[in-house]
Structures are given as C-alpha cells and as structure tokens.
C-alpha cells in the first residue's frame, strides 16, 4: 500500500509540474508520445494519412501537403522505430478509427524492410490504446504498463513537440554523423507484410502511394556507391506491390536531396522538410487527387 500511495503521489506531482509522460503502452517514448498527442488532439476527419517509421514522422511537413491542396485534411500517422509489419499494424489501427481516410502515403527506407522477422507486429494492445485515445482515464494504464525507469527518464528527458498535423520535427542545425550502417537485405516477412497491407487498403477503397526515401549522399558513397541497394529495394518493393493498385515512386533513385538537409543518413532537419515534402507531392501527386 505504501508503494502504491508513493507511486500515485509521484504521478500527481509529475502531472502538476507538467512533466507526466504517457503510459508505456509500447515503452518506446517516441511512439507513446505520439499516442498521447492523438489523445490530446483527436484528428478532425482526416482524408490523407502519412505513415511509416521515423522517416515519415520526421521528414514530412504535412502542413505543406494541406497548403498546396486546400481540399485535403492531412494527418501524419507515422510512429518512429517501426518495421514494415508494425507500420501496417499501426496504420490499420488508425484507419479503423478514422473512416474518412481516402489516401495513404507510405515512406520507406531499406532499414524499415530489414527487421520484420524480429519485430512483433502488434506493437501495442489495440483495446487499451483505443480506450486511451477515446479519453478513458489514464491512471490504470500507468499501473498496467508500469515501468519506473522509463517513467522517470521520460519525465526528466526531452519533451516531444508535435506539429498540429502530427509531424515530429528534428529542429536542429546539428549533424549527428551517418549513424546508420550498411544496408541489410529486405526480409521476405517485410515484403509479405507490404503486399498484404496494399491489398487490405485496396479492399477498403483507399489509395496507397509508396515512396522510397532518398538517403544522404555520404551514406551512399560509404555503403552503396554503385546504387545496388537502392535498385534492389525498388525492385523488391515493385515485386511486392505487383498485382495491387498501389503506386510506387522510387524517389531514392530520382530525387536529389542536398547533404546539408540531413541530420544523419536518413533523417532531415525540419528546415528542409517543407521543400522536400513539396517536391514529393509534386512528383507523386499525393493530395492533388480527390
């Protein structure tokens, strides 16, 4: 009883100080913070959804899509750190809750396609997260998803600041180094997940646009000088999407992004994302269609 009282007191204190982190549904603060954002800012009937892993969350300025296409209500529904199978799971969860979605933009890089085998598809419990997003009291979830270390470190750590569209800007001038090592081959599990995802959206009458993320030129020089990995990824994605109505844009091979725009091999600094998003939209027509 003493312990429970102290813990509740800690939560109340953190809440009072504005430091209370979200419950550890996934225990990945970036994902849990996004869920908290969606709880606090319920989306207003979005029609267009940007999905994927951190590259979709960080590199897309969703406001730019909406600015160029006033008829579009766009939402960034990406979560960081997800493999392809997990992105499909999270996207289906959002689409089930947001019945007005007509278009989905999926941004992929080779790293998203190489870890499905070891990544549990159900990245969170849909019933718990669904109730949480619907505004259920959150105290129970701090007990059910108890993790004191992550609670304290997330309370003391940097706060995630989302844009009103759900983007998570990397608002920095720093360059962190490449961080990402050599490309790993796509796993069949990821390609199967992508295929099933595309067919699922097709059945639901939702248009899917898949885009490969251009990687920093320094990374390509180091790990993919002959563009073998880039070509392989495009071919594998095309093969996985064959027979579906999804559209694939291999912008990794066709879009040149200045090295200065990157904070590491795959993530863009926020100041560059508006320009990058407009070029993507212009190339793919995402958001221009009704």
């Amino acid at each position: 009883m003493t312990g429970m009282a102290v813990f509740v007191g800690l939560l109340l204190g953190l809440d009072f100080a504005g430091l209370k982190p979200p419950p550890a549904f996934t225990n990945s603060h970036c994902i849990d913070a996004k869920l908290e954002f969606l709880r606090r800012h319920p989306p207003l009937k979005p029609t267009h959804l940007v999905v994927g892993s951190s590259i979709a969350l960080r590199n897309i300025d969703t406001a730019a899509i909406a600015r160029d296409n006033p008829q579009v209500r766009a939402l960034n529904g990406a979560f960081c750190g997800l493999a392809m199978n997990q992105s499909a799971f999270a996207t289906r969860f959002l689409i089930d809750r947001l019945p007005g979605i007509s278009d989905v933009l999926l941004l992929l890089d080779p790293f998203d396609m190489s870890s499905c085998r070891t990544s549990k598809t159900a990245v969170f419990d849909q019933a718990d997260v669904g109730a949480y997003l619907s505004g259920a009291p959150d105290l129970d979830y701090y007990f059910k998803y108890f993790d004191l270390f992550s609670l304290i470190t997330n309370a003391a750590g940097r706060k995630e600041r989302f844009t009103p569209y759900g983007d998570l800007p990397l608002d920095t001038d720093r360059y962190f180094g490449l961080v990402y090592g050599p490309p790993r081959p796509s796993q069949p599990e990821c390609l199967v997940a992508l295929n099933a995802f595309a067919l699922d959206l097709q059945t639901r009458g939702i248009a899917l646009t898949v885009i490969t993320m251009p990687l920093m030129s320094g990374w390509s020089r180091e790990y993919d000088p002959d563009s073998r990995a880039a070509k392989a990824l495009a071919a594998e994605l095309a093969s996985a999407l064959a027979g579906t109505q999804a559209r694939l844009w291999d912008t990794w091979s066709t879009l040149d992004v200045p090295a200065a725009d990157f904070t590491d091999a795959v993530h863009l600094r926020w100041s560059a994302t508006g320009r990058f998003t407009r070029r993507l939209v212009s190339a793919t027509g995402f958001g221009a269609r009704d």
């Binding site: 009883m1 003493t2 312990g3 429970m4 102290v6 813990f7 550890a24 549904f25 996934t26 225990n27 990945s28 603060h29 970036c30 994902i31 951190s54 960080r58 960081c80 750190g81 070891t118 549990k120 419990d125 718990d128 007990f143 059910k144 998803y145 108890f146 993790d147 004191l148 270390f149 992550s150 470190t153 990397l170 962190f176 180094g177 961080v179 990402y180 090592g181 050599p182 790993r184 590491d264 993530h267």
Partner: protein
Amino acid sequence: MLFNSGIFIFGFLPAALLVFYGLGLLGQRRWAIVWLTVASLAFYAWWDISNVPLLLASIVANFALQRLLMRRRSRAVLVAGIALNLAALVYYKYAGFLAQTINAAADAGLPVPYIVLPLAISFFTFQQIAYLCDTYDGLVDDSSFVNYMAFITFFPHLIAGPITHHKEIIPQLADPGLARPDARMIAAGATMFLVGLFKKVMIADPIAAYANPVFAAAAAGEPLTLFEAWGGGLAYTLQIYFDFSGYSDMAVGLGLMFGVRLPFNFDSPLKAASIIDYWARWHMTLTRFVTAYIYSPVTLRLTRRRMAAGKPLPRRGRMNLETFLSLVALPTFFAFLVIGIWHGAGWQFALFGALHGIYLTVNHGWRLLRKRWQLDWNDRSLLFVVPSVLLTLACVVVGLVLFRAPDVGTALHMLDAMFGGASLSLHSSQLLSHRQVQLTLVLLAIVWLLPNTQEWLRGTPTGLGEVRPPGWFERWITGHSLGWRPAPAVAVIVGLLGFLAIAKAISAAPPEFIYFNF
C-alpha cells in the same frame, strides 16, 4: 510458472504457504511435506506436464538405487546409477548436438534428433548423482521416500538451483519444527524474495535492452566498434549477474518462507579480485558440486598415480612445472570444461569452460610464482585491489561473451571487436548511448559498494553458508539503522522495493525500446 509471474506471486505462493502452515498447525507435519511435494510437482508441471513422468521416474530409480547401495556397498551399482543419470542427461541435452558434431566431422549423415530439453534436468541429475556417491561413501543417513522426494522437487530450487545437497536439506525436512510458522524467518524470506525480484525485473531485464542489440548485430555480422563490443559485453555481464543472483535470492527467500534454509549461490562475485575468488562467489553451489564430485576425485586419483610411479608431489605448496601441470592444470581444466558443457550443448559453452579452466590455471600458477618469488604485496590495499578487480571483471566479460553468443562465430566476431580488430570510433551509435554508459556506471557502483542480500540481512538466519565480514559501506549503513531488522522503517523500505518489483513483474509494458534520439 516463473517466480516473477502474477500467477506465482498472487496464486501459487499464497496457496502453497497457507496449506503448508495450515497442516503444520494441525500437527500434520508429514502431510505438510507431502503437500510441499505435490505443490512442487504442480509448479513443475505448469511449464510442461509431459516432463513430470521423467522427473518422477528419475526420483524413483535413484531412490531405489540408493536403497540398494545402503544395503550393499556395490561399486557396480554406483557406476550403473551414475551412468543411468548421465545417459538421460546426455540423451535429452546433448544428443542433437552430438549428432550434428559427428555429421560435421565425419559426414556420417546421422539423423539429428529434435528433443525438447526437460526443465531442470541438469540440476536434479547432479543432485541425485551426489546422493548416490555419498551413499556409496557411507555419508548418507537413512531417509524416507517422502523426504527424499520433497528434497529433489522442492520448487524454490528445482528449476535453476541452488544445487542443494541432501545433507543440508533432508535433515531440515525431518526436523519436527518444520511447518510451524516463524514470523522472523518468513519476514526475512519475503524480504529476500522481493529483493531478488527487484534485481531481476528492475535491473536485469532493463539492462538486457542494451546487451541484446549488440549481440544481435554481431550475429548478423555487422561491424562493431571496440566500445560497442565492450559495452555490450559489460551490459550482458551485469544482466546475467543481477538476473541469476536475483533468482537465487528469490529461491533462498522462498525456501525460508517454508522454513527451509537453502545454500547461498552468489556472494558479490563482481567484487572478486581474482578468478579463483570469482568462482568462490559465482554460482557457488555449482562450484561446490564440481569441486567435490569431479575436481577432487580426479586430483586424488592423479596424485595416487604419481605416488605409485614415484613422481614428485607438491611440498608445502611448492611444485615443479610438470607436477603443476598434472595435478593442478589438468584437473582444473577438465572440471571447468565440464562446467562449460553442463551449461549448454554448443561449442561456445565448451570454449567458455575451457577459457575459465585456463584462467584458473594461470591464476593458480601466478599464486605459486608469487610464493616462490616471495612477492609479499598487501592484497588489501586499493593499489592492488582496484586493478585486480578490474582485470578479473574484464576476464569475466570475455568469458560471458562466449556464454551469451548464439554460436562461436558470433562470439569470435565480438571478441575480435573487443581486442582491437575494430574501429575505435566514439561516433554516435545506436549500440552505445550515453544513457547506457551512465546506467552501467551506476550498476557497477551498486555491485562494488552495496552489501549483497545476505550481508544486508546479517544477523538473521537466512541461507546456508558464510557471510563475509562487513565492509566500510555496510558498516556505515548499519550505523545509520539501515541494516535489515523487523522494524517499521525497514518495512517501509521493503514495501517500496516490493511494490516496484511486483508492479514491474506483472506489468504489460514491453522492455523499454532504446531508440536513441529519433
């Protein structure tokens, strides 16, 4: 079921305790022991009920052999008993590995059997071999089948030790005071259980999130920097220490809650200033078993053989190189090879044992040289202790890389990175973060400075075994009334620890995902 599962903490344990002490208070001590055995078998069956017949058959067969040995001291019966136990162990644990090895070496095309390893077979096999050997040597008092069965199946030690000895458990089961509740013993047992649970779920499991990605990257053949490899190895060392010693604390605590004192299994091994000292503190009951039933008999036999051949023997701890190799190096290496292979079927485990055999041999050799050269250093000075502890820790980390790696190739890849075959880069990395470094330093401070569980409960009978004299930090804690005793302040501390540990144990939160800054 696991000790850290909700079903165990809120279901099995309270029910087992209530019925056990209920029967004891009704004067049904014998039925209380039978209940303990039934509960232990249920605990074992929870994992996989199909393993229960093997456990029962092993117990019945060994008890029958023991009866035979009690009646007639027959070497043939002893050898047959040991062979039977080892045959079961080899079949279930090593048959697949042996077939693979023979196929690889001789292209024999043997079918590789897929055999599910029965839980705890390594533990109950060793215990029963010891029972047979001691019966043959006339060291076993008569015991009932009920007590023998309770000794082998007693659930606190059944799954992962400590490897108990019949001489320390069966007399306690035969004690007329068993199953009479002793509040202080139950409180001390609950404290040890909760401290062990805290170590397991609040420390070991979170630190695993730093070790696993490094070993996964090594298994995938990805390049590692020197600091990533050492960071991963050190994280795993801390993980397995807190995990296994936490489990052992839970086992000793659970034993106490049922009025049975189990032997200590850990004694702050990462404080060890030599590898010899380390093995006197790490998985102590395994070291004890191997020393008593493998190392000592082998050494004795070799000594007799040398005597018969007229070869020189050690005199006052001094010996020539040839004597050292045959009477120290050979049995040490052999004993540790057995320890390595006992841990698992794979060459990496054999290499782990062989490496520690070499460590021990070098350590023994160095001790002899110090004696011969009369290097009388002050072993307790910080100038000696600090480098010794750090060197021992480094050796342990290297050994545990072999232990943790899924195969020899992965281990060699890690070791290559640890010993200069890799970049010295300190660049941003997904495999080594500032937070990991900070956490590692905090955990090392805990390991090196704080008293261990049995030291904290000094003054109250807990496990079996010596408790070292208090260090300066423990004396400081005791001086500030923070030592364990049945008092309100301590109850609050234990209550807090217990809440954190149980809440984490039953939490649905997955292991924290360390996602760097992205």
